[in-house]
C-alpha cells in the first residue's frame, strides 16, 4: 500500500492545467461556469482544440489514437478540465464509449472508417439503447434489423437518446434474431443519422433543455458492413460499454467544481443572506465535502485497482454510480437553497453566445438561471446509466453471490 501521489503525477497535473487554462476559450468557460450545457458549436470547438493536442480521447490507448494515459492520468485530466470550466467531454460524446467497442470488437475496416473521425470530432455518436418499453430492462428491446441482401432493414424506436440531434451516427442495439433468448438475439449497428427513414424528435425535459430524443427507424437500410463485431453478440458489447460508463459517471470531478460554485454562491450578498454565515449551512457544506472526498478516493482506488478486486470490481463500480449521482443531487439541492426565491422563474438556455432575454427577470443575479436549470436536470442522475436500484441489485449479486 502506497498512497502518496508520485511527483511525476503532480507534474502531469500542472502540465494539463496549464494547457487547459491557456487553450480553453473564455466564452466557453463562461457559459459552463454559469451552469449551461455547451452548445454544439462550443463542443466541437473544444473537441477540436483537444484533438489538435492529441488529447481528445484520454481513455483510449495510443495505438488507436488516444493519449495512452493510465486511469489515474485520465482522472487528473478530467479533474483539471472540470476545475477550469471546460465542457464535459463524455457527456455529449457517446463517441468516447463507442470507440473502445469498435477498436476491441470491430473489423480493421471499421476502425479505419470510424476511429479517426471520432478523434477529430468530425463525427459525433450517440447511443441507441433504451426503448419505450425497455428502460433498465435493456434485453427486452424490440427494434429489429432484418438482413436483406447486403443491407439490414431497421424498424423500431429508441428513446432517451442523448444528443441524437447533434450526432452524426447512432450506435444502435437491434434485434437480429427473434427466436433466440432475449440477450442472444441482439446485434450492434452503426447507423448514419442522415439515413432516409431516421427521424429524431426532441423530448422536452423538466429543465427545458435539449438533452434527449426519440429516434424512429422506418425501413432504414443500413449496409451490412456497419454491423459492429459479430452478429447476435451485441449484448456482450453493450455490457462492455456500460461497464466503462458506470466507472466514469460518478462525475466526482464535476461535483468538486460544483462545491466550489456553492461556496461562491454562499459567500455572495445578492441572495439576501450570506449562507456561509449560517452554522447549519456550514455544517451541510462540511458534510458534503467530506462525502465527496471519500468518493474521490474511491474513484481513484477504482482507477488504480481496476481488475484487482475480483468479483467485487463490478459491485464497487456500481457503488460509485450510486454515490456519485446522489452527491450530484445534493450539491444541486444546496445550491438551490442559497438561491431562495429565485428558484421560481422558468429559465431558458441562452442561444449561441447570448442570453435569452425574453423571459428573464430583470433583477436576477447572473449565476441563477444556469444553476437552477442544471439542478433540475440533475434529477436524471439517479435514473440514467442504470437506475440506482439496478446498481444495488448488481452490488448484491456480484459481491454477495446472492441470486
Amino acid at each position: 500500500m502506497n498512497l502518496t501521489i508520485p511527483i511525476e503525477l503532480e507534474r502531469f497535473r500542472i502540465e494539463v492545467r496549464e494547457f487547459v487554462r491557456a487553450a480553453l476559450p473564455t466564452d466557453i468557460a463562461c457559459r459552463q461556469r454559469e451552469g449551461w450545457p455547451p452548445t454544439e458549436t462550443d463542443l466541437r470547438r473544444w473537441f477540436g482544440i483537444l484533438a489538435a493536442q492529441g488529447w481528445s480521447q484520454p481513455d483510449w490507448p495510443k495505438e488507436h489514437g488516444g493519449t495512452g494515459w493510465d486511469p489515474l492520468q485520465s482522472y487528473i485530466f478530467e479533474d483539471e478540465c472540470a476545475a477550469a470550466d471546460a465542457p464535459h467531454l463524455s457527456w455529449r460524446a457517446g463517441s468516447s464509449l463507442v470507440g473502445p467497442v469498435i477498436y476491441t470488437f470491430g473489423s480493421n475496416a471499421q476502425k479505419a472508417r470510424y476511429l479517426p473521425k471520432i478523434l477529430t470530432g468530425e463525427e459525433l455518436w450517440c447511443q441507441g439503447f433504451s426503448e419505450p418499453n425497455s428502460g433498465s430492462d435493456l434485453a427486452s428491446l424490440r427494434t429489429s434489423a432484418v438482413r436483406d441482401g447486403d443491407e439490414f432493414v431497421v424498424n423500431g424506436q429508441k428513446i432517451w437518446t442523448s444528443e441524437a440531434h447533434i450526432a452524426n451516427l447512432i450506435f444502435a442495439l437491434v434485434r437480429t434474431d427473434r427466436d433466440a433468448k432475449p440477450q442472444r438475439g441482439i446485434s450492434c449497428l452503426a447507423i448514419e443519422i442522415e439515413s432516409p427513414g431516421v427521424t429524431v424528435r426532441p423530448i422536452s425535459t423538466i429543465d427545458n433543455g435539449r438533452h434527449v430524443n426519440e429516434v424512429f427507424f422506418n425501413d432504414v437500410r443500413v449496409p451490412a458492413g456497419n454491423l459492429i463485431g459479430e452478429l447476435n453478440k451485441g449484448w456482450t458489447y453493450a455490457k462492455f460499454l456500460l461497464g466503462n460508463e458506470r466507472h466514469s459517471n460518478a462525475l466526482v470531478q464535476r461535483t468538486k467544481r460544483e462545491i466550489r460554485k456553492l461556496r461562491d454562491l454562499a459567500g455572495q450578498t445578492s441572495f439576501g443572506e450570506r449562507f456561509i454565515d449560517k452554522p447549519a449551512f456550514r455544517r451541510s457544506l462540511a458534510q458534503l465535502e467530506i462525502d465527496t472526498n471519500a468518493l474521490e478516493w474511491a474513484v481513484i482506488r477504482a482507477a488504480c485497482t481496476h481488475g484487482a478486486l475480483g468479483g467485487r470490481d463490478m459491485a464497487f463500480a456500481s457503488g460509485l454510480k450510486v454515490v456519485g449521482s446522489e452527491l450530484q443531487q445534493r450539491v444541486a439541492d444546496l445550491q438551490l437553497e442559497v438561491l431562495g426565491p429565485w428558484v421560481s422563474p422558468e429559465f431558458l438556455e441562452p442561444e449561441e453566445g447570448a442570453w435569452h432575454g425574453t423571459f428573464r427577470p430583470a433583477e436576477v443575479p447572473v449565476d441563477v438561471p444556469g444553476t437552477m436549470t442544471k439542478a433540475l436536470f440533475r434529477r436524471a442522475a439517479t435514473i440514467y446509466g442504470g437506475a440506482n436500484e439496478i446498481q444495488r441489485g448488481i452490488i448484491w449479486r456480484s459481491a454477495f453471490g446472492g441470486n
Partner: protein, 372 residues
C-alpha cells in the same frame, strides 16, 4: 376533535375537482404552458371568480363567504391536487387578509370587487436581495404634499402582468407600510416572465410614483398584520403541497402498476413498494404537521409562528422527498414534460419555498423554541 371534512368543505372540494376535470385537464394545461407568449389568463380568472373561490375568505359584510382558514385550506389542497397554477393564493388569501385588516375604508371597499373578479389584485412584497422577511426594504414611500412618492423595485409578483392593482410594501419614515397602487400609473413599469409552474409573474419598477393619502392600506402595526397574513398564506401553501403529494402518490403507484420491466410490473418489486410506503408515510406526517399548525393559527403570535414553522419544515421536507422520488420512480418519463409528474415536481419546488423555505422556518422555530 374532528379531522373529517364538513359537508360544506366537501361541496367546495368536489366543485373544484369537477372544474379541474372539465376545464383544467393536464392536456389543456400542457397546451397553455407550451404557448410561450401568453401571460396570466383573465378569462380563466373570471371563471374562477364565478366559482366563488376568490370569495371564500372575504367577510360576508364585504360580499364574501366569510369562511375560515381551514375552509380555505380545503380549497388549496384541492387546487394543489388539480395542479391549478393561478395566482389564487396571493389574491384570495394574502391580499384579502391584508385588506380585511386595513385601516383605510377605501381599501376594504375593494373586497367585493375582488370577490367578483372585477378587480384583480396582486401582492408585491419581494425584492432582489431579500429572502422571506420584510426587513431592510429598499422600496420607500416618502410623504409628500397630498400623499406619498413611491420608489423602488419589486420582484416575483405573481399575476402582476394582468393585475389592476398592486399591494406594495414600502418603508416610510418610521415603519413598514402597505400601499394600494394602480398597476397602470405613471412611473410603474412591469416586466413579465413565466414561472416554473406555468404561472406568470412580473418585476415592477416604481419611479417616483405619486400616491394619494388613501392609498395607504396599513400604516401602523404593519409587521404584525403582514406576518400573520403571511403565516396564513404559508399554511395555505402547505395545504396545496399536500394536495400535490396525494396526487403524486396516486399517479406514481399507478405508473408502477402499469409499467413492465424484466417481465413483470414495476409494482411487483419490493423496493419500489417500500419506497411508495415511505412516501405515504411522508405525506401523512406532512398532513399531521398541517393539522398541528391549523389548530394554532389563531393562537398568540409566538405559538402561531412556532407551529407554522414546524409544519412548514415537515411539509417542505416531505414535498422535496415526494417530488424527487416521484420523478425518480417514473424513470426517464419523470424527466419529460409530457407526463404530469414533472409538472407536479416543479410546482412542489415552488410551494416548498413559498413564503419561507425550510432554512427560514427552521431558524424561526429554533429562535422561538430551542433558544427559549
Amino acid at each position: 376533535m374532528n379531522f373529517e371534512f364538513s359537508k360544506d368543505q366537501l361541496i367546495l372540494r368536489d366543485g373544484i375537482r369537477r372544474f379541474v376535470d372539465e376545464r383544467y385537464s393536464f392536456e389543456s394545461r400542457r397546451q397553455r404552458v407550451k404557448s410561450k407568449s401568453t401571460g396570466t389568463d383573465r378569462a380563466m380568472w373570471a371563471q374562477i371568480a364565478e366559482l366563488g373561490w376568490l370569495a371564500v375568505l372575504i367577510p360576508e359584510e364585504h360580499g364574501g363567504l366569510g369562511w375560515s382558514i381551514a375552509d380555505a385550506c380545503v380549497m388549496f389542497q384541492e387546487l394543489g391536487r388539480g395542479l391549478v397554477s393561478e395566482p389564487i393564493m396571493d389574491s384570495a388569501l394574502l391580499a384579502v387578509r391584508i385588506l380585511t385588516r386595513a385601516d383605510s375604508v377605501s381599501a376594504r371597499l375593494l373586497l367585493p370587487k375582488i370577490a367578483t373578479g372585477e378587480v384583480f389584485i396582486s401582492v408585491a412584497l419581494g425584492e432582489a436581495g431579500l429572502r422571506y422577511e420584510q426587513k431592510g426594504l429598499s422600496t420607500r414611500a416618502i410623504p409628500i404634499e397630498g400623499g406619498y412618492k413611491l420608489t423602488g423595485k419589486k420582484i416575483l409578483v405573481a399575476g402582476g402582468d394582468v393585475a389592476d392593482r398592486l399591494i406594495v410594501s414600502a418603508g416610510t419614515d418610521s415603519e413598514l407600510a402597505l400601499f394600494d397602487v394602480l398597476a397602470i400609473s405613471d412611473g410603474v413599469e412591469r416586466r413579465a416572465y413565466r414561472l416554473l409552474d406555468g404561472q406568470w409573474a412580473v418585476d415592477v419598477t416604481f419611479k417616483d410614483v405619486v400616491l394619494p393619502h388613501e392609498s395607504l392600506i396599513i400604516g401602523s402595526q404593519t409587521t404584525e398584520i403582514l406576518d400573520r397574513a403571511i403565516d396564513e398564506a404559508a399554511l395555505g401553501c402547505s395545504a396545496e403541497a399536500i394536495g400535490c403529494m396525494d396526487r403524486v402518490l396516486e399517479i406514481t403507484a399507478e405508473y408502477l402498476r402499469s409499467r413492465q420491466q424484466f417481465g413483470r410490473a414495476l409494482a411487483d418489486f419490493q423496493v419500489l413498494q417500500h419506497r411508495i410506503a415511505d412516501l405515504f408515510i411522508e405525506t401523512e406526517m406532512a398532513r399531521s404537521a398541517f393539522h398541528s399548525a391549523l389548530s394554532a393559527i389563531d393562537s398568540p403570535v409566538a405559538t402561531r409562528q412556532a407551529a407554522v414553522s414546524a409544519a412548514r419544515v415537515r411539509i417542505d421536507q416531505a414535498a422535496h422527498k415526494v417530488g424527487n422520488q416521484g420523478v425518480h420512480l417514473h424513470g426517464g418519463m419523470g424527466m419529460a414534460m409530457e407526463y404530469p409528474i414533472g409538472h407536479y415536481y416543479r410546482r412542489l419546488i415552488m410551494l416548498a419555498r413559498a413564503y419561507g423555505d425550510t432554512e427560514h422556518h427552521l431558524e424561526r422555530y429554533e429562535r422561538l423554541k430551542i433558544r427559549a
